[in-house]
Symmetry: C2
Subunit: 156 residues, 2 copies
């Protein structure tokens, strides 16, 4: 049945980031709606941000387009140029290869949610704007490196 | 700026269907949010259905995944098995190649809206469930045929 019952979709918490970054994602969870519906070409996640939570480290994608629609509460979008508060129905698009990193912060005392869509490229590189970190993802396997491409061994 | 101001996005009306099918799409319009945000890998449209309007002829995609979230009002999803009413926040996924055709009807007297995401495949074939019609789309050009692959020349 194509209709997705969110109650049957497992809540995903945690992060693939190495520490100390994984712990910074506390209060973020998501429902993998696209996977639940059998989609393989793009991911669709409904992300919940508890008060104070971050959606991710601020980042940009080399090969994957990304799209967000806020569905509940207020999500603050952070870019190179600063912050913009987004409300339900507000949308933002992040074309692949644009190096203006983004993430969302819930600066309120209420839960916030957004729907995020991202292409599933065979090989992807995400670069984190505010720390010396990038990740290469291929065949479901993630390799974290510094921005110079050497293996990540801890914050520097 | 990644944030998309819907007020700046042109409202698209009309249909590429041949008649008499194009006229059946009266009351449907959409905002091409993904295009407005510079995305090329998938389309994201916010579709408005006036009372009585259809989202499309009932169809399925051969190569393109599709995902829908209702954002306003009530949208009735029609599949081979019958009708399901969907409300804001309800989602549905239509994996490429699944021949159970779908469309949405606004059976209410209020406007209904949904967000729809679909991959932009280099070549696509959509097949219409309830009429003898299919379309091949390649390089932005659409060729309508009967289901046997011959050129469409009118309803039969």
């Amino acid at each position: 049945m194509p209709v997705i019952d969110p109650k049957t979709v497992p809540v995903k918490t945690g992060s693939i980031y190495p520490e100390p970054y994984a712990s910074m994602m506390a209060g973020r969870s998501s429902l993998r709606l696209g996977d639940a519906g059998g989609l393989t070409q793009f991911g669709v996640n409904l992300v919940t941000l508890e008060p104070g939570a971050l959606s991710s480290l601020r980042h940009w994608h080399l090969h994957e387009d990304e799209f967000v629609m806020v569905t509940e509460g207020a999500c603050t979008l952070v870019l190179d140029a600063g912050e913009t508060v987004m409300h339900p129905g507000d949308c933002a698009a992040f074309p692949a290869g644009n190096p203006d990193g983004h993430h969302f912060i819930n600066h309120t005392d209420q839960v916030a949610r957004f729907l995020v869509v991202g292409t599933k490229a065979p090989r992807e590189v995400a670069t984190y704007s505010d720390v010396d970190l990038r990740v290469e993802i291929e065949a479901g396997k993630a390799r974290f490196t510094y921005k110079d491409g050497t293996d990540w061994e801890g914050p520097r």
